[in-house]
Amino acid sequence: MGISNRIATKIRTAAKTETVPLPRPYLDTGAVVAAAIVRAAASTIGQLKLGSSTFRGQDVLGIREARSTYLSTVKVSQRGLVGWSVSLGVLTVSGWTADWMVNVVVEDSPVGATVNVTTPATLTRDGTLVNKSAHGELRDLVLSGLRAGKLPAGTAELAVSKAGLAAEELEPFYALIPAQTLRTKLPVAEVHATLALVPFPVADRQPDRLRWQLGTAGALADRFAHARITDQGDVRTIELECPPQPTGSAVLDGLVARRAGALFQSVQRTIYRLDRDIEITSEPIIRQRPTAGV
């Protein structure tokens, strides 16, 4: 029994190399198609309800294995523009433990693209590959997709994406919105020219004042931060502030605080590139933590 299982596993995990009709030039379009095919295959496997065990070793009755079985995770990583690694397993306190890993490497040559599919890591029980159906399905989907050589439908990819956005996420850290003052020797005109490189939409620009929108969608579209620019003779001060407006939602307040912090950092970086002697002082505004989940 064990020997025939081992032979079947060996056949199942044997390396496969074949020429595939990916669009050319490979780096222009072929790589985009290959990446989409791998995403589609991984998303299909990611929709299966599979279990992976953290237990390793002899377990005749299968009790220890069953007790240490968790929902499987599919882990995908891309290597440059030519390689992908798809692994099924579970994260443990000691790190990632894989049931199997499939590597997909596309080699481009003047005569066409060649794909090499290998299974460098396997976990077997009595000679049988653990979660072998998922392994076979992933390999088949990747190979059949690459043989077709065109963009896949994307149905599975959209499903896992939408399900991800519909899932509950953790509450963000509560963050303070600091008020900051920068002192620079740059002339006012140069301060304005430099601040034009801060990647936030400008809501209002005056000679002594600049107002940025913190976002372009959702609640952030109605939130602003501003800079007051004062010429004090030999130095210019830039006072940055984001007026606190607690919404009662920990997520929205977290979004605003991080976004304002990112804006202030960006202002500092852009000024610092031209004036290494910039002085920065921060005065955090402490406010009541909003009630979570409201």
């Binding site: 990446a35 989409a36 994260l91 996420e169």
Partner: protein, 188 residues
């Protein structure tokens, strides 16, 4: 004439699909990309998952800081990388990167097709999701990923209102981030 959808995935609702952005070419393209990237990374709110860690031979719960870490892709095809990592205390970034939930890379796409898609006098910038995890039929930490992608696109659009944006999801809805009452991590 080949259509855009045949050349580039138009999965506008996929957080995994690549995004192609065309910005008006300037001498500061690389600097602009770096600034947009760092701003987007810092803009993603930090969460605090409790994960088990080994202390001696026993495992104990430990609060981590889940946040986006940026880095430079040394010798790779990408200019910059961003990873959502579970950071443990003051450990070096290299250690945190081993606990990555997703990874996104940005590159200037020099190929003819990308240039053709974004139009003349524009620099084609590709944003690729290079690493991700799927569990129970869903992308893990999709909210942070969607938000990061949204901020990247919003950053380029703020600097160049005429920027061309093609491909995957890059919008944002506040109701996508609803909070969990308990830790959803199923990891042992």
């Amino acid at each position: 004439m080949t259509s855009t959808t045949e050349l580039f995935p138009s999965l506008a609702e996929s957080v995994l699909a690549p995004i192609l952005i065309g910005i008006t070419t300037t001498e500061r393209d690389t600097e602009v990309i770096g600034e947009v990237w760092d701003v987007a990374a810092f803009s993603v709110p930090v969460t605090s998952p409790v994960l088990k860690v080994l202390v001696g031979k026993a495992s104990q719960p430990l609060k981590h800081s889940r946040r986006v870490i940026t880095g430079v892709s040394v010798g790779g095809d990408y200019i910059k990388l961003a990873q959502l990592c579970d950071v443990r205390g003051d450990e070096p970034a290299a250690e945190s990167r081993k606990r990555s939930r997703w990874m996104v890379g940005v590159r200037i796409a020099p190929d003819d097709v990308s240039r053709q898609l974004v139009g003349p006098d524009r620099t084609p910038i590709r944003v690729d999701v290079m690493g991700y995890q799927l569990q129970a039929g869903r992308v893990l930490e999709a909210q942070q990923l969607a938000l990061f992608r949204h901020y990247v696109v919003a950053g380029f659009q703020a600097l160049d209102p005429a920027a061309v944006v093609l491909g995957g999801q890059h919008d944002w809805r506040d109701d996508w981030w609803s909070t969990a009452q308990t830790n959803p991590q199923s990891s042992p």
